[in-house]
């Protein structure tokens, strides 16, 4: 019954109740990372606009992603939000198959897919990471910092590239140790706190005093290493200071924010209000505050000016931040 309603409402927006479908990346809700961030955005929008949410997680090997999207669309959910670039391979076809449903995908550009009902929510991770690099280099006493990546994918390499560039912008001769916990195609690096800890320990023992991680759940290990070494670490995606234990709060200098929640909330709101363009990417960067640095704990308040300066230069295009190492 509601399929028909939604079918007709799909193009326009707000008549009828919102039914939002969310397809998570493996891990699902409660990953303390971008799945949670995405659902927070959806919930914020629903608080505002009313409506219902259906959340689905893929199975462990991710083999049923297609089913997640099609069943949400079949059941009349509109819009349908795919969280994570893993959906990038299939979402183009599915959007074409369900022209009356609006789709969004986090972390993947849809510009070349040519589907009007598909929006890419993409982020300039390199810009936020650049600021993280600036902060690290400015605060480093030893002139030696580190980066721990999860799986060596192009997405995580964006973090690395921005971070290294930012650090070098402050101290051209700074040493940056880089480690990936697992190679491309092996996602275990995002769920291996032991590996994260060992890698970060290695950096601290080699003289690094600040380590930035873009390693999902393995980041816990990086924070633990920082606590043990009495050095500092930089979190990622959300403000990890807020969810950390007190002794970890003492070492989380800042976090590179990637506001998936904002991007998703904006997307849902635009959809509800009929403002959605479709077929394009929405770039969330420093200028839109889609990425940035957190200041909880007040550890980087003293270098606020420096950070602000670089932020402005990036927004103005004076600094071109590289996207790959």
């Amino acid at each position: 019954s509601d399929e028909d309603d939604n079918g007709s409402s799909a193009s326009g927006g707000s008549d009828g109740e919102l039914k939002i479908g969310v397809a998570y990346d493996t891990g699902g809700r409660g990953d303390k990372s971008f799945n949670d961030s995405a659902i927070a955005g959806v919930e914020a929008a629903v608080d505002e606009l009313g409506g219902e949410i259906e959340e689905l997680s893929p199975n462990d090997d991710g083999s049923n992603r297609e089913e997640l999207l099609t069943q949400l669309a079949d059941a009349g959910y509109n819009p349908v939000i795919a969280v994570g670039f893993a959906y990038g391979d299939i979402i183009g076809d599915i959007a074409a198959e369900y022209p009356d449903t609006e789709f969004a995908i986090v972390d993947t550009s849809v510009e070349e897919l040519g589907a009007d009902n598909l929006t890419g929510l993409v982020f300039a991770e390199e810009e936020g990471s650049f600021l993280a690099g600036v902060a690290a280099a400015s605060k480093s006493v030893t002139g030696h910092i580190g980066f721990v990546g999860g799986s060596q994918s192009p997405l995580i390499e964006k973090f690395e590239a921005g971070y290294v560039a930012g650090a070098q912008a402050v101290k051209p001769d700074i040493i940056v140790d880089v480690t990936y916990l697992s190679p491309a195609g092996d996602p275990s690096g995002f769920g291996d706190p032991e590996g994260g800890k060992v890698a970060a320990q290695g950096m601290y023992q080699a003289g690094a005093d600040i380590v930035f991680h873009a390693a999902g759940g393995s980041g816990e290990g990086v924070f633990e290493a920082a606590v043990e070494a009495g050095q500092r670490a930089i979190g990622v995606d959300s403000d990890q200071y807020l969810t950390a234990s007190p002794d970890q709060q003492a070492v989380i200098m800042t976090s590179m924010l990637k506001r998936v929640d904002n991007a998703v909330e904006t997307f849902v709101t635009d959809f509800a209000e009929g403002d959605l363009e479709g077929g394009t990417d929405i770039l969330n960067d420093l200028s839109t505050e889609g990425v940035g640095l957190s200041d909880s704990g007040g550890y980087i308040d003293d270098i606020n000016d420096v950070l602000e300066d670089f932020r402005q230069q990036i927004i103005d295009g004076d600094i071109e931040v590289p996207t790959s190492p």
Binding site: G27, D36, S57, S182, A184, G202, D247
Partner: protein, 425 residues
Amino acid sequence: MSAATTTGPTRTRGPLAELFLGGGAARRALWILVGLMLLLSVVRVISGEQALTSASTFSTALLLAVPIGLAALGGLFSERAGVVNIGLEGMLILGTWGAGWAGYQWGWAGAIVGGILFGVAGGLVHAIATVTFGVDHVVSGVAINILAAGIVRFLSELVYVGNELGGGATQSPALSSRPPSFSLPVLSDGPDLLGDLADQGWFLISDVAGLLRGVTSGVGVLTLIAVLLIPISYVVLWRTAFGLRLRSCGENPAAADSLGVPVYRMKYIAVLISGGLAGLGGVALVFVANIFKEGQTGGRGFIGLAALIFGNWRPGGLAAGAGLFGFADGLQLRSRTAVVALLLLLALLLLAVAVFQTVRGRYLQAVLAAAFAGLSLVGFLTIDELPTGIVSFTPHLTTLLVLSLASQRLRMPKADGLVYRRGEN
């Protein structure tokens, strides 16, 4: 007639094994250690890779070896009693969940108890299936691995989603207290004499100092327990009446039964201990990250199983297997250039094999070993840094290479994996 002896096509041990493994257990272990340290020192000096023998490398090796070693110890108890345990991975997973769940509520001590109990629960399922129902051990183990993954996710969804202390479908809240850790006073702490020595860069001396400092500073309570459990397991299994009875169930359960040993009960006890030890391995993983995180076992149960076989179903051997793996894994995670130095190590080892085989008149093997030694050497000289993909399997390749070079005759307990039914001979 001695000519006939030497040309005999099969011998009990390969050349390397004979070299290292001749004599008593203690002498053997010392030999291997001395040889390895020498080799490592040489390679460090030539390659300039200080990470090869630094204290932190060794302490990392220890840290990484602990969960693997505990899983392997779990396997030891079970398999010594004749029950093959492919389900170690599942029990490790259960252990991590139990540790996370108990740990966020009652701190580190609670985590230890929780992890053990959850591991024991996994062991109980395995024991019921294999001992009571006589199910094929591999089948039961595989089922437990699947089941554990499902149960853990399910429990997390049940307990952590919406838990105000944190956590979610894939992770627990942080432990409410941190486990203590210890250092050896003066030598590794405070004045840190060993640390100073290790930093000198002296041939062999600094390397040994690095090793000693690595294993004596900042050692977590669970690492301590795990290290102690190795000799304890040996004493329990080989020096007590209980151990003799337990092992008899893995060698000849019918004989044990005929002497009044309660075979079923012993097997139950062994598999429960096995689950508990694997669960403790899970606790070790949770202690590293201070939370439970789904997937954090990463196949370490299987590696533990491999370490057990590698170690010829003996506590000392499996510890060596776990240590070797931990060392290579730590090196891999810390320094991609140090991994390249391992190629030099390999080249030297193979060269030794080649010389040895030449002496014994086995020219084909000698030539092969020499050829591979040459290849490794070329690799060492030309490669600066290996890609992540290749580096990532350093520990696995090392284990495989050592095993195939040493070619030891492994002797599993004679009735290991056989379902015992009273009366059915």
